[in-house]
Amino acid sequence: MAKVTIKNLYKRYGKVEAVKGINLECEDKEFLCLLGPSGCGKSSTLRMIAGLEDITSGEITIDGVRVNNIHPSKRDIAMVFETYALYPHKTVFKNMSYPLRIRKLSKSEILTRVQRAAEILEITDLMDRYPRELSGGQKQRVAIGRAIVRNPKVFLMDEPISHLDAKLRAHMRGELKHLQKELSQTFIYVTHDQLEAMSMADRIAVMNHGLLQQYDSPHNIFNQPANQFVAGFVGDPPMNFIECILTVEDGWKLKHDEFELSLEDKVQQKVQAQTPQFSGALNVTLGIRPESITIKREKTKPNEIAGQVYITEPLGSDLIVDVTVGQERLKIKTTSSFEGDRGAKVFLEMVPDKIHLFDAQTSKSLM
Protein backbone atom coordinates (compact mmCIF):
# COMPACT_ATOMS: atom_id res chain seq x y z
CA MET A 1 0.00 0.00 0.00
CA ALA A 2 1.59 3.32 -1.02
CA LYS A 3 -1.05 5.95 -1.12
CA VAL A 4 0.19 9.55 -1.26
CA THR A 5 -1.99 12.25 0.26
CA ILE A 6 -1.39 15.96 -0.04
CA LYS A 7 -3.42 18.24 2.18
CA ASN A 8 -3.59 22.01 1.78
CA LEU A 9 0.01 22.22 0.59
CA TYR A 10 1.72 25.60 0.34
CA LYS A 11 5.21 26.53 -0.80
CA ARG A 12 6.62 30.03 -0.58
CA TYR A 13 10.04 31.15 -1.85
CA GLY A 14 10.40 34.49 -0.07
CA LYS A 15 7.49 36.55 -1.31
CA VAL A 16 6.70 34.24 -4.21
CA GLU A 17 3.97 31.69 -3.61
CA ALA A 18 4.77 28.70 -5.83
CA VAL A 19 2.14 26.28 -4.52
CA LYS A 20 -1.13 27.58 -3.12
CA GLY A 21 -3.14 25.07 -1.16
CA ILE A 22 -3.01 21.88 -3.20
CA ASN A 23 -5.12 18.90 -2.17
CA LEU A 24 -4.45 15.59 -3.89
CA GLU A 25 -4.81 11.89 -3.26
CA CYS A 26 -2.79 9.45 -5.30
CA GLU A 27 -4.01 5.92 -4.85
CA ASP A 28 -1.80 2.88 -4.49
CA LYS A 29 -0.43 1.67 -7.85
CA GLU A 30 -1.80 4.72 -9.58
CA PHE A 31 0.03 6.65 -12.32
CA LEU A 32 -0.52 10.29 -11.45
CA CYS A 33 0.68 13.08 -13.70
CA LEU A 34 1.23 16.62 -12.47
CA LEU A 35 0.70 18.67 -15.62
CA GLY A 36 1.13 22.37 -16.19
CA PRO A 37 3.23 25.08 -17.82
CA SER A 38 6.63 26.22 -16.52
CA GLY A 39 6.42 27.83 -13.10
CA CYS A 40 3.00 26.35 -12.25
CA GLY A 41 4.32 24.69 -9.08
CA LYS A 42 4.30 21.07 -10.29
CA SER A 43 8.03 20.46 -9.74
CA SER A 44 7.90 22.19 -6.34
CA THR A 45 5.05 19.86 -5.38
CA LEU A 46 7.02 16.80 -6.49
CA ARG A 47 10.14 18.01 -4.68
CA MET A 48 8.10 18.47 -1.50
CA ILE A 49 6.83 14.90 -1.83
CA ALA A 50 10.46 13.80 -2.22
CA GLY A 51 11.53 15.92 0.74
CA LEU A 52 13.96 18.00 -1.31
CA GLU A 53 12.03 21.19 -0.52
CA ASP A 54 10.68 22.27 2.84
CA ILE A 55 6.92 22.45 3.14
CA THR A 56 5.75 25.97 4.00
CA SER A 57 2.43 24.66 5.31
CA GLY A 58 0.16 21.70 4.76
CA GLU A 59 0.77 18.00 5.05
CA ILE A 60 2.07 15.14 2.94
CA THR A 61 1.55 11.54 3.91
CA ILE A 62 3.04 8.49 2.22
CA ASP A 63 1.46 5.21 3.14
CA GLY A 64 -0.42 6.93 5.95
CA VAL A 65 2.74 8.33 7.55
CA ARG A 66 3.18 12.09 7.79
CA VAL A 67 6.50 12.78 6.07
CA ASN A 68 6.74 16.57 6.44
CA ASN A 69 9.84 16.42 8.60
CA ILE A 70 11.33 13.17 7.33
CA HIS A 71 14.59 13.35 5.35
CA PRO A 72 14.36 12.15 1.71
CA SER A 73 16.66 9.24 2.56
CA LYS A 74 14.08 7.91 5.02
CA ARG A 75 10.98 8.32 2.85
CA ASP A 76 11.52 5.17 0.80
CA ILE A 77 11.01 6.90 -2.52
CA ALA A 78 12.90 6.71 -5.79
CA MET A 79 13.23 9.67 -8.08
CA VAL A 80 14.28 10.26 -11.66
CA PHE A 81 15.52 13.78 -12.23
CA GLU A 82 15.04 15.96 -15.28
CA THR A 83 18.83 16.22 -15.57
CA TYR A 84 19.20 12.47 -14.82
CA ALA A 85 21.70 13.28 -12.04
CA LEU A 86 23.89 10.26 -12.68
CA TYR A 87 27.02 10.10 -10.54
CA PRO A 88 29.76 11.02 -13.02
CA HIS A 89 32.55 9.19 -11.20
CA LYS A 90 30.67 5.90 -11.05
CA THR A 91 30.06 3.42 -13.83
CA VAL A 92 26.55 2.52 -14.92
CA PHE A 93 26.68 -0.58 -12.72
CA LYS A 94 27.85 1.41 -9.71
CA ASN A 95 25.24 4.09 -10.34
CA MET A 96 22.48 1.51 -10.42
CA SER A 97 23.76 -0.50 -7.49
CA TYR A 98 24.43 2.53 -5.27
CA PRO A 99 21.00 2.56 -3.55
CA LEU A 100 21.33 -1.19 -2.93
CA ARG A 101 24.81 -0.91 -1.47
CA ILE A 102 23.51 1.78 0.89
CA ARG A 103 20.95 -0.76 2.06
CA LYS A 104 23.77 -3.27 2.57
CA LEU A 105 22.29 -5.96 0.34
CA SER A 106 24.44 -8.98 -0.42
CA LYS A 107 26.64 -8.87 -3.52
CA SER A 108 24.68 -11.60 -5.25
CA GLU A 109 21.36 -9.88 -4.53
CA ILE A 110 22.74 -6.58 -5.87
CA LEU A 111 23.98 -8.29 -9.01
CA THR A 112 20.63 -10.02 -9.60
CA ARG A 113 18.59 -6.87 -9.12
CA VAL A 114 20.81 -4.66 -11.27
CA GLN A 115 20.87 -7.32 -13.96
CA ARG A 116 17.08 -7.61 -13.94
CA ALA A 117 16.61 -3.82 -14.16
CA ALA A 118 19.20 -3.62 -16.93
CA GLU A 119 17.37 -6.32 -18.86
CA ILE A 120 14.04 -4.52 -18.53
CA LEU A 121 15.65 -1.30 -19.79
CA GLU A 122 17.87 -3.03 -22.37
CA ILE A 123 21.11 -1.56 -21.06
CA THR A 124 22.96 -4.75 -20.11
CA ASP A 125 25.87 -3.88 -22.44
CA LEU A 126 26.43 -0.46 -20.86
CA MET A 127 27.31 -1.63 -17.35
CA ASP A 128 31.01 -0.66 -17.44
CA ARG A 129 30.56 2.70 -19.07
CA TYR A 130 30.69 6.07 -17.38
CA PRO A 131 27.81 8.55 -17.73
CA ARG A 132 29.90 10.78 -19.98
CA GLU A 133 30.12 7.91 -22.47
CA LEU A 134 26.34 7.57 -22.80
CA SER A 135 23.80 9.20 -25.11
CA GLY A 136 20.84 11.14 -23.73
CA GLY A 137 18.48 8.21 -24.11
CA GLN A 138 20.93 5.82 -22.45
CA LYS A 139 21.48 8.19 -19.52
CA GLN A 140 17.76 8.43 -19.09
CA ARG A 141 17.44 4.63 -18.98
CA VAL A 142 20.23 4.36 -16.43
CA ALA A 143 18.50 7.00 -14.29
CA ILE A 144 15.29 4.97 -14.41
CA GLY A 145 17.32 1.83 -13.73
CA ARG A 146 18.77 3.36 -10.56
CA ALA A 147 15.19 3.97 -9.41
CA ILE A 148 13.73 0.56 -10.25
CA VAL A 149 16.45 -1.61 -8.72
CA ARG A 150 14.82 -0.86 -5.41
CA ASN A 151 11.29 -1.56 -4.42
CA PRO A 152 10.33 1.88 -3.11
CA LYS A 153 6.89 2.96 -1.99
CA VAL A 154 6.62 5.68 -4.63
CA PHE A 155 8.39 6.52 -7.87
CA LEU A 156 8.78 10.23 -8.52
CA MET A 157 9.68 11.42 -11.99
CA ASP A 158 10.50 15.02 -12.85
CA GLU A 159 10.15 15.45 -16.63
CA PRO A 160 12.41 12.46 -17.25
CA ILE A 161 11.94 12.32 -21.01
CA SER A 162 11.53 15.99 -21.86
CA HIS A 163 15.07 16.29 -23.22
CA LEU A 164 14.94 13.32 -25.55
CA ASP A 165 14.26 13.72 -29.24
CA ALA A 166 10.66 13.39 -30.42
CA LYS A 167 10.97 9.83 -31.69
CA LEU A 168 12.64 8.51 -28.55
CA ARG A 169 10.17 10.40 -26.41
CA ALA A 170 7.24 8.73 -28.15
CA HIS A 171 8.93 5.35 -27.62
CA MET A 172 9.66 6.04 -23.96
CA ARG A 173 6.06 7.06 -23.23
CA GLY A 174 4.95 3.55 -24.04
CA GLU A 175 7.91 2.03 -22.20
CA LEU A 176 7.27 3.99 -19.02
CA LYS A 177 3.60 3.13 -18.99
CA HIS A 178 4.43 -0.51 -19.53
CA LEU A 179 7.05 -0.34 -16.76
CA GLN A 180 4.54 1.13 -14.31
CA LYS A 181 2.03 -1.63 -15.03
CA GLU A 182 4.73 -4.28 -14.79
CA LEU A 183 6.15 -2.98 -11.51
CA SER A 184 2.63 -2.28 -10.27
CA GLN A 185 3.84 0.69 -8.25
CA THR A 186 2.68 4.20 -7.48
CA PHE A 187 4.12 6.70 -9.98
CA ILE A 188 3.96 10.47 -9.64
CA TYR A 189 5.14 12.03 -12.85
CA VAL A 190 5.71 15.72 -13.58
CA THR A 191 5.45 17.01 -17.12
CA HIS A 192 4.59 20.11 -19.11
CA ASP A 193 3.74 17.97 -22.12
CA GLN A 194 0.01 17.28 -22.21
CA LEU A 195 0.57 14.42 -24.64
CA GLU A 196 2.74 12.59 -22.09
CA ALA A 197 0.16 13.11 -19.37
CA MET A 198 -2.77 12.09 -21.54
CA SER A 199 -1.08 8.98 -22.86
CA MET A 200 0.40 7.64 -19.63
CA ALA A 201 -1.55 8.78 -16.59
CA ASP A 202 -4.42 7.12 -14.77
CA ARG A 203 -5.25 10.53 -13.39
CA ILE A 204 -3.95 14.00 -14.22
CA ALA A 205 -3.61 16.94 -11.86
CA VAL A 206 -3.55 20.08 -14.01
CA MET A 207 -1.85 23.00 -12.29
CA ASN A 208 -1.46 26.67 -13.10
CA HIS A 209 -0.09 29.57 -11.04
CA GLY A 210 0.37 27.24 -8.07
CA LEU A 211 -3.28 26.21 -8.04
CA LEU A 212 -4.82 22.86 -8.85
CA GLN A 213 -7.10 23.45 -11.80
CA GLN A 214 -8.56 19.98 -12.22
CA TYR A 215 -7.79 16.50 -10.96
CA ASP A 216 -9.42 13.82 -13.04
CA SER A 217 -8.97 11.02 -15.55
CA PRO A 218 -7.40 11.93 -18.92
CA HIS A 219 -10.78 11.28 -20.57
CA ASN A 220 -12.59 13.75 -18.32
CA ILE A 221 -9.78 16.31 -18.48
CA PHE A 222 -10.10 16.26 -22.25
CA ASN A 223 -13.85 16.03 -22.56
CA GLN A 224 -15.06 17.89 -19.50
CA PRO A 225 -12.43 20.53 -18.71
CA ALA A 226 -13.20 22.39 -15.51
CA ASN A 227 -12.14 25.74 -16.89
CA GLN A 228 -10.78 27.53 -19.91
CA PHE A 229 -7.17 27.00 -18.85
CA VAL A 230 -7.50 23.22 -18.73
CA ALA A 231 -9.45 23.22 -21.99
CA GLY A 232 -6.75 25.25 -23.71
CA PHE A 233 -3.77 23.42 -22.21
CA VAL A 234 -4.86 19.91 -23.08
CA GLY A 235 -5.20 18.94 -26.73
CA ASP A 236 -3.06 19.57 -29.77
CA PRO A 237 -3.79 21.78 -31.63
CA PRO A 238 -5.36 23.61 -28.70
CA MET A 239 -9.04 24.32 -28.33
CA ASN A 240 -10.45 27.34 -30.19
CA PHE A 241 -12.00 30.05 -28.04
CA ILE A 242 -14.51 32.65 -29.26
CA GLU A 243 -16.06 35.39 -27.12
CA CYS A 244 -19.88 35.27 -27.52
CA ILE A 245 -23.08 36.34 -25.79
CA LEU A 246 -25.43 33.67 -24.56
CA THR A 247 -29.10 34.72 -24.80
CA VAL A 248 -32.32 32.92 -24.01
CA GLU A 249 -34.87 35.47 -25.32
CA ASP A 250 -35.82 33.63 -28.52
CA GLY A 251 -34.43 30.20 -27.69
CA TRP A 252 -30.91 29.40 -26.38
CA LYS A 253 -28.48 31.06 -28.73
CA LEU A 254 -24.84 32.06 -28.91
CA LYS A 255 -24.47 35.44 -30.59
CA HIS A 256 -21.32 36.69 -32.27
CA ASP A 257 -20.79 39.52 -34.76
CA GLU A 258 -20.20 36.97 -37.51
CA PHE A 259 -22.63 34.20 -36.60
CA GLU A 260 -25.48 32.98 -34.45
CA LEU A 261 -25.57 29.47 -33.07
CA SER A 262 -28.59 27.66 -31.62
CA LEU A 263 -27.70 25.40 -28.72
CA GLU A 264 -28.95 21.86 -28.40
CA ASP A 265 -31.22 20.84 -25.53
CA LYS A 266 -28.43 18.79 -23.96
CA VAL A 267 -26.13 21.81 -23.83
CA GLN A 268 -28.97 23.96 -22.47
CA GLN A 269 -29.63 21.51 -19.65
CA LYS A 270 -26.00 21.37 -18.68
CA VAL A 271 -25.67 25.17 -18.57
CA GLN A 272 -28.92 25.45 -16.64
CA ALA A 273 -27.67 22.94 -14.09
CA GLN A 274 -24.56 25.07 -13.56
CA THR A 275 -26.33 28.46 -13.50
CA PRO A 276 -29.90 27.88 -12.35
CA GLN A 277 -30.62 31.61 -11.79
CA PHE A 278 -29.55 32.57 -15.32
CA SER A 279 -32.02 34.39 -17.56
CA GLY A 280 -31.34 37.28 -19.98
CA ALA A 281 -27.84 37.43 -21.46
CA LEU A 282 -24.38 36.33 -20.35
CA ASN A 283 -20.87 36.93 -21.69
CA VAL A 284 -19.39 33.52 -22.41
CA THR A 285 -16.43 31.96 -24.18
CA LEU A 286 -17.28 29.31 -26.69
CA GLY A 287 -14.73 26.51 -26.79
CA ILE A 288 -14.48 24.02 -29.60
CA ARG A 289 -11.68 21.59 -30.38
CA PRO A 290 -10.14 21.67 -33.89
CA GLU A 291 -11.29 18.09 -34.50
CA SER A 292 -14.89 18.96 -33.55
CA ILE A 293 -15.32 21.35 -36.46
CA THR A 294 -16.19 20.14 -39.96
CA ILE A 295 -14.89 22.26 -42.79
CA LYS A 296 -16.68 22.42 -46.17
CA ARG A 297 -16.39 24.38 -49.37
CA GLU A 298 -20.19 24.68 -49.79
CA LYS A 299 -22.86 25.76 -47.32
CA THR A 300 -25.28 22.92 -46.68
CA LYS A 301 -26.86 23.74 -43.28
CA PRO A 302 -28.15 26.98 -41.76
CA ASN A 303 -25.98 26.70 -38.62
CA GLU A 304 -22.73 26.78 -40.61
CA ILE A 305 -20.31 29.69 -40.18
CA ALA A 306 -18.64 31.40 -43.13
CA GLY A 307 -14.89 31.99 -43.08
CA GLN A 308 -11.74 32.28 -45.18
CA VAL A 309 -8.70 30.00 -45.29
CA TYR A 310 -5.74 31.82 -43.71
CA ILE A 311 -3.16 29.05 -44.08
CA THR A 312 -3.00 25.25 -44.19
CA GLU A 313 -0.56 23.06 -42.25
CA PRO A 314 -0.27 19.55 -43.72
CA LEU A 315 0.65 16.88 -41.14
CA GLY A 316 0.71 13.80 -43.35
CA SER A 317 -2.64 12.11 -42.92
CA ASP A 318 -4.14 15.14 -41.16
CA LEU A 319 -4.37 18.73 -42.20
CA ILE A 320 -4.68 21.76 -39.93
CA VAL A 321 -6.56 24.61 -41.58
CA ASP A 322 -6.40 28.07 -40.05
CA VAL A 323 -9.62 29.89 -40.86
CA THR A 324 -10.47 33.53 -40.26
CA VAL A 325 -14.01 34.28 -39.08
CA GLY A 326 -14.29 38.06 -38.77
CA GLN A 327 -11.63 39.02 -36.23
CA GLU A 328 -11.30 35.45 -34.94
CA ARG A 329 -8.80 32.83 -36.08
CA LEU A 330 -9.84 29.19 -35.72
CA LYS A 331 -7.86 25.99 -36.18
CA ILE A 332 -9.63 23.07 -37.80
CA LYS A 333 -8.29 19.54 -37.97
CA THR A 334 -9.39 17.74 -41.09
CA THR A 335 -8.12 15.09 -43.46
CA SER A 336 -5.44 15.73 -46.05
CA SER A 337 -8.07 15.32 -48.78
CA PHE A 338 -9.39 18.81 -48.05
CA GLU A 339 -8.63 21.25 -50.82
CA GLY A 340 -8.62 24.95 -50.20
CA ASP A 341 -5.91 27.51 -50.88
CA ARG A 342 -5.22 30.70 -48.97
CA GLY A 343 -8.20 33.05 -49.16
CA ALA A 344 -10.66 30.32 -50.21
CA LYS A 345 -14.18 30.70 -48.82
CA VAL A 346 -15.16 27.89 -46.45
CA PHE A 347 -18.06 26.95 -44.16
CA LEU A 348 -17.61 25.54 -40.67
CA GLU A 349 -19.94 23.27 -38.80
CA MET A 350 -19.38 22.73 -35.10
CA VAL A 351 -20.28 19.29 -33.74
CA PRO A 352 -23.15 20.36 -31.41
CA ASP A 353 -22.41 18.09 -28.45
CA LYS A 354 -18.69 18.92 -28.52
CA ILE A 355 -19.25 22.55 -27.69
CA HIS A 356 -17.84 23.91 -24.42
CA LEU A 357 -19.00 27.08 -22.73
CA PHE A 358 -17.01 29.03 -20.18
CA ASP A 359 -18.01 32.00 -18.08
CA ALA A 360 -16.15 34.94 -19.69
CA GLN A 361 -15.42 36.46 -16.29
CA THR A 362 -14.46 33.49 -14.14
CA SER A 363 -13.27 31.17 -17.00
CA LYS A 364 -15.10 28.33 -15.27
CA SER A 365 -16.93 25.77 -17.33
CA LEU A 366 -20.67 26.33 -17.60
CA MET A 367 -21.29 22.73 -18.54
Binding site: Y84, R146, H163
Partner: protein
Protein backbone atom coordinates in the same frame (compact mmCIF):
# COMPACT_ATOMS: atom_id res chain seq x y z
CA UNK B 1 49.84 31.82 -42.10
CA UNK B 2 51.37 28.62 -43.40
CA UNK B 3 50.59 25.96 -40.77
CA UNK B 4 54.14 24.57 -40.89
CA UNK B 5 55.63 28.00 -40.30
CA UNK B 6 53.13 28.57 -37.46
CA UNK B 7 54.14 25.29 -35.90
CA UNK B 8 57.84 26.09 -36.18
CA UNK B 9 57.33 29.51 -34.61
CA UNK B 10 55.33 27.92 -31.84
CA UNK B 11 58.11 25.40 -31.14
CA UNK B 12 60.73 28.18 -31.10
CA UNK B 13 58.62 30.27 -28.71
CA UNK B 14 58.04 27.32 -26.37
CA UNK B 15 61.74 26.37 -26.43
CA UNK B 16 62.81 29.93 -25.58
CA UNK B 17 60.29 30.08 -22.77
CA UNK B 18 61.44 26.71 -21.47
CA UNK B 19 65.09 27.78 -21.51
CA UNK B 20 64.19 31.04 -19.77
CA UNK B 21 62.39 29.06 -17.06
CA UNK B 22 64.55 25.99 -16.69
CA UNK B 23 68.11 27.34 -17.01
CA UNK B 24 68.03 29.28 -13.71
CA UNK B 25 66.74 26.13 -11.97
CA UNK B 26 69.46 23.98 -13.53
CA UNK B 27 72.02 26.62 -12.58
CA UNK B 28 70.68 26.66 -9.02
CA UNK B 29 70.71 22.88 -8.62
CA UNK B 30 74.10 22.47 -10.34
CA UNK B 31 75.68 25.19 -8.19
CA UNK B 32 74.37 23.66 -4.99
CA UNK B 33 76.35 20.48 -5.78
CA UNK B 34 79.61 22.32 -6.42
CA UNK B 35 82.39 23.19 -4.04
CA UNK B 36 82.44 26.88 -3.18
CA UNK B 37 85.39 27.61 -5.44
CA UNK B 38 83.83 25.93 -8.47
CA UNK B 39 80.65 28.02 -8.46
CA UNK B 40 82.38 31.03 -9.94
CA UNK B 41 84.37 29.02 -12.42
CA UNK B 42 83.25 30.61 -15.68
CA UNK B 43 84.27 29.71 -19.26
CA UNK B 44 85.62 32.36 -21.64
CA UNK B 45 82.99 34.55 -23.32
CA UNK B 46 81.38 32.73 -26.25
CA UNK B 47 82.46 29.23 -25.15
CA UNK B 48 78.99 27.63 -25.06
CA UNK B 49 80.32 24.08 -24.89
CA UNK B 50 82.35 25.07 -21.84
CA UNK B 51 79.21 26.60 -20.36
CA UNK B 52 77.24 23.37 -20.87
CA UNK B 53 80.08 21.38 -19.37
CA UNK B 54 80.01 23.58 -16.30
CA UNK B 55 76.28 23.11 -15.96
CA UNK B 56 76.15 19.36 -16.42
CA UNK B 57 79.64 17.87 -16.04
CA UNK B 58 81.37 18.83 -12.85
CA UNK B 59 82.72 17.20 -9.74
CA UNK B 60 79.72 16.76 -7.47
CA UNK B 61 80.20 17.77 -3.88
CA UNK B 62 77.85 17.75 -0.91
CA UNK B 63 79.88 20.35 0.95
CA UNK B 64 77.17 22.99 0.80
CA UNK B 65 74.49 20.66 2.14
CA UNK B 66 76.80 19.34 4.84
CA UNK B 67 77.65 22.85 5.93
CA UNK B 68 74.02 23.78 6.13
CA UNK B 69 72.33 20.70 7.48
CA UNK B 70 74.97 18.93 9.54
CA UNK B 71 77.14 21.74 10.71
CA UNK B 72 74.53 24.49 10.39
CA UNK B 73 70.98 24.78 11.77
CA UNK B 74 69.09 24.15 8.52
CA UNK B 75 67.58 20.84 9.66
CA UNK B 76 65.62 22.77 12.27
CA UNK B 77 64.60 25.36 9.66
CA UNK B 78 63.49 22.61 7.28
CA UNK B 79 61.46 21.04 10.09
CA UNK B 80 59.88 24.40 10.89
CA UNK B 81 59.05 25.02 7.24
CA UNK B 82 57.50 21.56 6.82
CA UNK B 83 55.52 21.79 10.07
CA UNK B 84 54.28 25.34 9.53
CA UNK B 85 53.24 24.61 5.94
CA UNK B 86 51.81 21.16 6.62
CA UNK B 87 49.81 22.15 9.68
CA UNK B 88 48.45 25.31 8.11
CA UNK B 89 47.32 23.33 5.04
CA UNK B 90 45.88 20.60 7.26
CA UNK B 91 43.80 23.22 9.05
CA UNK B 92 42.89 25.52 6.14
CA UNK B 93 41.81 22.96 3.56
CA UNK B 94 39.38 20.86 5.66
CA UNK B 95 37.93 23.98 7.30
CA UNK B 96 37.76 25.67 3.90
CA UNK B 97 35.96 22.62 2.52
CA UNK B 98 33.30 22.76 5.23
CA UNK B 99 32.86 26.53 4.92
CA UNK B 100 32.71 26.31 1.12
CA UNK B 101 30.06 23.59 1.35
CA UNK B 102 27.98 25.69 3.73
CA UNK B 103 28.34 28.77 1.53
CA UNK B 104 27.56 26.84 -1.62
CA UNK B 105 24.60 24.80 -0.39
CA UNK B 106 23.32 26.36 2.81
CA UNK B 107 20.47 28.81 3.06
CA UNK B 108 22.30 31.26 5.28
CA UNK B 109 21.01 34.81 5.72
CA UNK B 110 23.62 37.36 4.62
CA UNK B 111 25.63 34.65 2.87
CA UNK B 112 26.72 36.99 0.09
CA UNK B 113 28.07 39.61 2.50
CA UNK B 114 29.84 37.00 4.55
CA UNK B 115 31.46 35.59 1.43
CA UNK B 116 32.59 39.04 0.34
CA UNK B 117 34.04 39.65 3.77
CA UNK B 118 36.00 36.39 3.54
CA UNK B 119 37.44 37.41 0.18
CA UNK B 120 38.11 40.98 1.27
CA UNK B 121 40.57 39.74 3.89
CA UNK B 122 42.80 38.70 0.99
CA UNK B 123 42.54 42.01 -0.82
CA UNK B 124 45.05 43.83 1.36
CA UNK B 125 48.73 42.91 0.92
CA UNK B 126 50.07 40.89 3.87
CA UNK B 127 52.45 43.66 4.87
CA UNK B 128 49.47 45.94 5.53
CA UNK B 129 48.27 43.72 8.37
CA UNK B 130 51.69 42.92 9.75
CA UNK B 131 51.73 45.53 12.51
CA UNK B 132 48.24 44.68 13.89
CA UNK B 133 49.07 40.98 13.66
CA UNK B 134 52.34 41.55 15.50
CA UNK B 135 50.51 43.35 18.31
CA UNK B 136 47.83 40.66 18.49
CA UNK B 137 50.32 37.81 18.43
CA UNK B 138 52.33 39.46 21.18
CA UNK B 139 49.31 39.89 23.43
CA UNK B 140 48.31 36.26 22.81
CA UNK B 141 51.90 35.22 23.64
CA UNK B 142 52.27 33.34 20.38
CA UNK B 143 54.89 35.60 18.88
CA UNK B 144 58.02 33.74 17.82
CA UNK B 145 56.36 30.34 18.23
CA UNK B 146 55.61 27.67 15.69
CA UNK B 147 51.86 27.57 16.54
CA UNK B 148 51.83 31.34 16.06
CA UNK B 149 53.33 30.97 12.61
CA UNK B 150 50.87 28.19 11.74
CA UNK B 151 48.01 30.43 12.82
CA UNK B 152 49.38 33.31 10.76
CA UNK B 153 49.54 31.16 7.63
CA UNK B 154 46.06 29.84 8.36
CA UNK B 155 44.62 33.36 8.53
CA UNK B 156 45.80 33.86 5.00
CA UNK B 157 45.23 30.38 3.62
CA UNK B 158 41.73 29.83 4.98
CA UNK B 159 39.95 32.64 3.06
CA UNK B 160 41.80 31.60 -0.07
CA UNK B 161 40.82 27.98 0.40
CA UNK B 162 37.16 28.92 1.05
CA UNK B 163 37.07 31.08 -2.06
CA UNK B 164 38.70 28.48 -4.29
CA UNK B 165 36.74 25.48 -3.00
CA UNK B 166 33.42 27.29 -3.16
CA UNK B 167 34.00 27.78 -6.88
CA UNK B 168 34.55 24.04 -7.31
CA UNK B 169 31.60 23.22 -5.08
CA UNK B 170 29.27 25.49 -7.04
CA UNK B 171 30.18 23.64 -10.23
CA UNK B 172 28.80 20.36 -8.82
CA UNK B 173 25.08 20.15 -9.63
CA UNK B 174 22.88 20.09 -6.56
CA UNK B 175 20.81 17.30 -8.10
CA UNK B 176 23.68 14.85 -7.63
CA UNK B 177 23.43 15.26 -3.88
CA UNK B 178 19.66 15.17 -4.03
CA UNK B 179 19.87 11.93 -5.98
CA UNK B 180 22.07 10.53 -3.21
CA UNK B 181 19.52 11.63 -0.57
CA UNK B 182 16.72 9.90 -2.46
CA UNK B 183 18.94 6.83 -2.86
CA UNK B 184 19.17 6.70 0.92
CA UNK B 185 22.16 8.77 2.01
CA UNK B 186 22.19 11.51 4.64
CA UNK B 187 23.88 14.85 4.07
CA UNK B 188 27.33 13.87 5.34
CA UNK B 189 27.57 10.61 3.42
CA UNK B 190 26.17 12.26 0.28
CA UNK B 191 29.05 14.72 0.65
CA UNK B 192 31.72 12.09 1.16
CA UNK B 193 30.36 9.69 -1.48
CA UNK B 194 29.39 12.09 -4.21
CA UNK B 195 30.60 15.67 -3.74
CA UNK B 196 34.08 15.03 -2.43
CA UNK B 197 35.26 12.65 -5.18
CA UNK B 198 34.04 15.16 -7.74
CA UNK B 199 35.85 18.14 -6.25
CA UNK B 200 39.00 16.14 -5.43
CA UNK B 201 40.90 17.87 -8.28
CA UNK B 202 39.89 21.19 -6.76
CA UNK B 203 41.01 20.09 -3.32
CA UNK B 204 44.34 19.02 -4.84
CA UNK B 205 44.79 22.42 -6.45
CA UNK B 206 43.91 24.15 -3.18
CA UNK B 207 46.44 22.03 -1.26
CA UNK B 208 49.17 22.98 -3.74
CA UNK B 209 48.37 26.67 -3.75
CA UNK B 210 48.05 26.93 0.04
CA UNK B 211 51.28 24.97 0.48
CA UNK B 212 53.10 27.25 -1.94
CA UNK B 213 51.90 30.32 -0.11
CA UNK B 214 53.12 29.07 3.27
CA UNK B 215 56.28 27.35 2.01
CA UNK B 216 57.51 30.39 0.09
CA UNK B 217 56.59 32.90 2.76
CA UNK B 218 59.30 35.15 4.08
CA UNK B 219 57.49 38.06 5.69
CA UNK B 220 55.40 36.21 8.31
CA UNK B 221 58.26 33.90 9.21
CA UNK B 222 60.64 36.81 9.62
CA UNK B 223 58.39 39.05 11.70
CA UNK B 224 56.06 36.66 13.53
CA UNK B 225 58.19 33.53 13.54
CA UNK B 226 61.39 35.20 14.62
CA UNK B 227 64.16 33.07 16.01
CA UNK B 228 62.09 30.28 17.51
CA UNK B 229 60.24 29.41 14.29
CA UNK B 230 62.79 30.21 11.63
CA UNK B 231 61.95 28.72 8.24
CA UNK B 232 64.21 28.01 5.26
CA UNK B 233 63.55 31.31 3.40
CA UNK B 234 64.49 33.28 6.52
CA UNK B 235 67.48 31.02 7.08
CA UNK B 236 68.67 31.57 3.51
CA UNK B 237 68.39 35.34 3.87
CA UNK B 238 70.75 35.15 6.81
CA UNK B 239 73.44 33.55 4.69
CA UNK B 240 74.13 37.01 3.37
CA UNK B 241 75.93 39.03 5.98
CA UNK B 242 77.84 42.30 6.00
CA UNK B 243 81.10 40.46 5.52
CA UNK B 244 80.23 37.59 3.21
CA UNK B 245 77.65 36.03 0.92
CA UNK B 246 77.61 32.22 1.08
CA UNK B 247 76.50 31.63 -2.49
CA UNK B 248 76.99 27.88 -2.36
CA UNK B 249 74.74 27.50 0.64
CA UNK B 250 72.21 29.94 -0.80
CA UNK B 251 72.03 27.75 -3.91
CA UNK B 252 71.71 24.58 -1.80
CA UNK B 253 68.98 26.22 0.29
CA UNK B 254 67.15 27.19 -2.90
CA UNK B 255 67.37 23.61 -4.13
CA UNK B 256 65.96 22.30 -0.86
CA UNK B 257 63.21 24.90 -1.07
CA UNK B 258 61.98 23.91 -4.53
CA UNK B 259 62.21 20.12 -4.24
CA UNK B 260 59.21 19.50 -1.93
CA UNK B 261 56.98 21.70 -4.07
CA UNK B 262 58.01 19.81 -7.22
CA UNK B 263 57.28 16.49 -5.51
CA UNK B 264 53.92 17.77 -4.22
CA UNK B 265 53.00 18.97 -7.69
CA UNK B 266 53.88 15.61 -9.22
CA UNK B 267 51.98 13.64 -6.57
CA UNK B 268 48.82 15.73 -6.84
CA UNK B 269 49.04 16.08 -10.62
CA UNK B 270 47.11 12.89 -11.17
CA UNK B 271 44.22 14.29 -9.11
CA UNK B 272 44.20 17.44 -11.14
CA UNK B 273 42.35 15.76 -13.96
CA UNK B 274 39.50 17.96 -14.91
CA UNK B 275 36.33 17.03 -16.68
CA UNK B 276 35.23 14.45 -14.16
CA UNK B 277 31.79 15.96 -14.00
CA UNK B 278 31.46 16.15 -17.77
CA UNK B 279 28.49 14.21 -19.04
CA UNK B 280 26.96 13.60 -15.66
CA UNK B 281 23.89 15.56 -16.45
CA UNK B 282 21.79 15.58 -19.56
CA UNK B 283 23.10 16.89 -22.83
Amino acid sequence: MDPRLAKTLKIIAVTLFLLWTVIPIIFLVASSFKATGDIFDLPPVGDWVGMLKLLFFFKASFTQFRNMFIEGPFFTYLGNSLLATGLSVLISVPLGLLAAYALSRGRIPGKKHFYFWVISTRMAPPVAVMVPLYVLWRSFHILQTLPGLVLAYTTFNLPFSIWLLRGFMDSIPKELEEAAYVDGRGRFRAFTDIVFPLIAPGVGATVILCSLMAWNDYLFALILGGRAAKTIPVGISELESATSILWGQIMAGGTVLIIPMIILGLVIKKFLVTGLTMGAMRG
